[in-house]
Symmetry: C2
Subunit: 359 residues, 2 copies
Amino acid sequence: MAIYKEKISVEESKTSKIEQVDFSKLDFGRVFTDHMFVCDYKSGKWQTPKITPYQAMTIEPSARVFHYGQAVFEGMKAYKTDEGRVFLFRPKQNFERINKSAERMAIPAFPENYFFEGLETLLNLDNDWIMPGIGNSLYIRPFVIATEPAISASPANTYRFMILCSPAQSYYNTPVRVLVAEQYSRSANGGVGAAKAAGNYAAQFYPTSLAQKEGFQQIIWTDADTHSFMEEAGTMNVFFRVNDTLLTAPVSDRILDGITRKSIIQLAEDLGITCEVRQVKVEEIKNAARDGSLKEIFGAGTAAVISEISAFQHKDELFEIADIDSDNSYAKLFKKTLMNIQYNISEDVHGWRYEVKPK
Amino acid sequence: MAIYKEKISVEESKTSKIEQVDFSKLDFGRVFTDHMFVCDYKSGKWQTPKITPYQAMTIEPSARVFHYGQAVFEGMKAYKTDEGRVFLFRPKQNFERINKSAERMAIPAFPENYFFEGLETLLNLDNDWIMPGIGNSLYIRPFVIATEPAISASPANTYRFMILCSPAQSYYNTPVRVLVAEQYSRSANGGVGAAKAAGNYAAQFYPTSLAQKEGFQQIIWTDADTHSFMEEAGTMNVFFRVNDTLLTAPVSDRILDGITRKSIIQLAEDLGITCEVRQVKVEEIKNAARDGSLKEIFGAGTAAVISEISAFQHKDELFEIADIDSDNSYAKLFKKTLMNIQYNISEDVHGWRYEVKPK
Ligand SMILES: Cc1ncc(COP(=O)(O)O)c(C=O)c1O
Ligand SMILES: Cc1ncc(COP(=O)(O)O)c(C=O)c1O
């Protein structure tokens, strides 16, 4: 995709903050690169995008985003090879998803050329912030907020689309312990769970903090109606390995259509691993844990790639999952296979890599 | 409640914008008074509140509110009598509710004295913006946003509590036509529907815009599981009058515990009108519409006080509600009874009025 420089105004930062950053001790999402991408929507259209130094912004306290949560976001990563080549992973999926989320939240769609030109220009400017080495990456956060200063409860007429970048190491390093939801829920049928809508995430903070007090890092959400089917975690889709078969819930209007998830489903097919995409009963997984056929549970998402789950609790019953030999672990296999594609180590048979070329 | 001036720092606006405002042509929520209340939370506590001129603010684009919708709000009104006395209506309910909403969204509770001192100081400063005359009011918008500049998906460590004020005429003037939800939903069991959480509102924009295209101004939400019970509208609880009995849904974790709603339930008791608080089947209301026993439907909320509903549609079937004689209308009776209390015209047997005295 060509970059039409004349379309994006670029104001370069005079100094870089990069020297102040200890890349070996990164706390997720706290450090931002030198630049950011900004594009405003007004008078019915997206205006000329610009790239500016990363900085605080001025906004009316009456902006609708503060009152009604009219906001959506994406999460993606840039990976650098040892030779300094920079790759994205299936970025078109993120682009399409942010517009799908936007539609559900009554936010106007963002143009594809602005998205890719903006992103590539930004990544070229902040190229030094992308550390090579497997596990290192630059986390990319596109998002849209309703900026109109008017507090009537209706869609705004003005918006801001932005992209921030934050250097990242791997998100969860150690296996996590999860609680299976029995009372709280993440989303409703006919609700906004399938959108990366801002409010979906804050809604999980309180139940998650309760789970954390009991020693669980995350919640596996179940269907709000009956709490009897496993759905997804806060920022990850979830896979269950029963004997040698993988199980994962189908996407719906309650579940985010994760890019890592759909990549794993494809890789499973490539690797000859059976993956059943179907409703997964909590009882089924508990029984599999009891009879020893439950071999692994793992989360799948951009931030953590694959996050192994070592235990789950449901209705006060705790199930520990026995350690699996590294060579036999699906979680490790998928993580390695995915990262080898992301870091340009293995062949890219599905055309998932997207190189960001220097200009 | 005493005002401890030393606790709130006040920076008065040098000029007033009030001369530029046409109070006879107010669009809801677009014009703000000269001042606003601001209080920041950091290092584990709410800092000294301040009142400043209403102005744009500076905030990091990485503030959590933009990404995860960690925000809650309230809506209340100040009413002025012809003699210039200023009243609030059950403000303690709003105070308690914002803290209840905050808890569900993992936001720290706001201190009661800050809330009332801030509000009263603000209303005294902007007293001229409260127009006397029944129907006129000053809409008051307390809200809290997560300001911490860090995009990890967890509760923030810093927040801002603010109060904005906006002069208002009555919200909906004419009867509204509503669509009964069949596919989309507002909230889940175990979700955040009972909280005034920002994201609940943007989630309704898209389905509401679809309804509007079909000629309906609002949606009456139904339970997400079965879509067979009437719950509430976007910013109003809903009452059905079948013969001479009022019906309204019980509050739950899906439905906002409206202050207008609970006041009407009390007033119905005072007036000897039977009000049944119970699940209201959509079919029951359709049958009542068919056999002529459905006399009225109305919404109840701070913004519109009472909003008459003249028609509803469900599964492509449209039900028009016959006009009711003004003298026999419960909607008009409750509206008048409520407003007479709000504007200090009638006796306040329940102690709902709260006078804001000049300092
Ligand atoms: C709710 C939810 N589920 C799943 C995922 C995983 O999706 P992806 O693999 O596209 O990052 C995410 C994170 O993006 C998410 O927010
Ligand atoms: C979802 C919802 N329901 C009902 C109401 C009515 O509540 P109240 O009467 O307290 O204004 C509101 C508005 O505040 C609301 O946002």
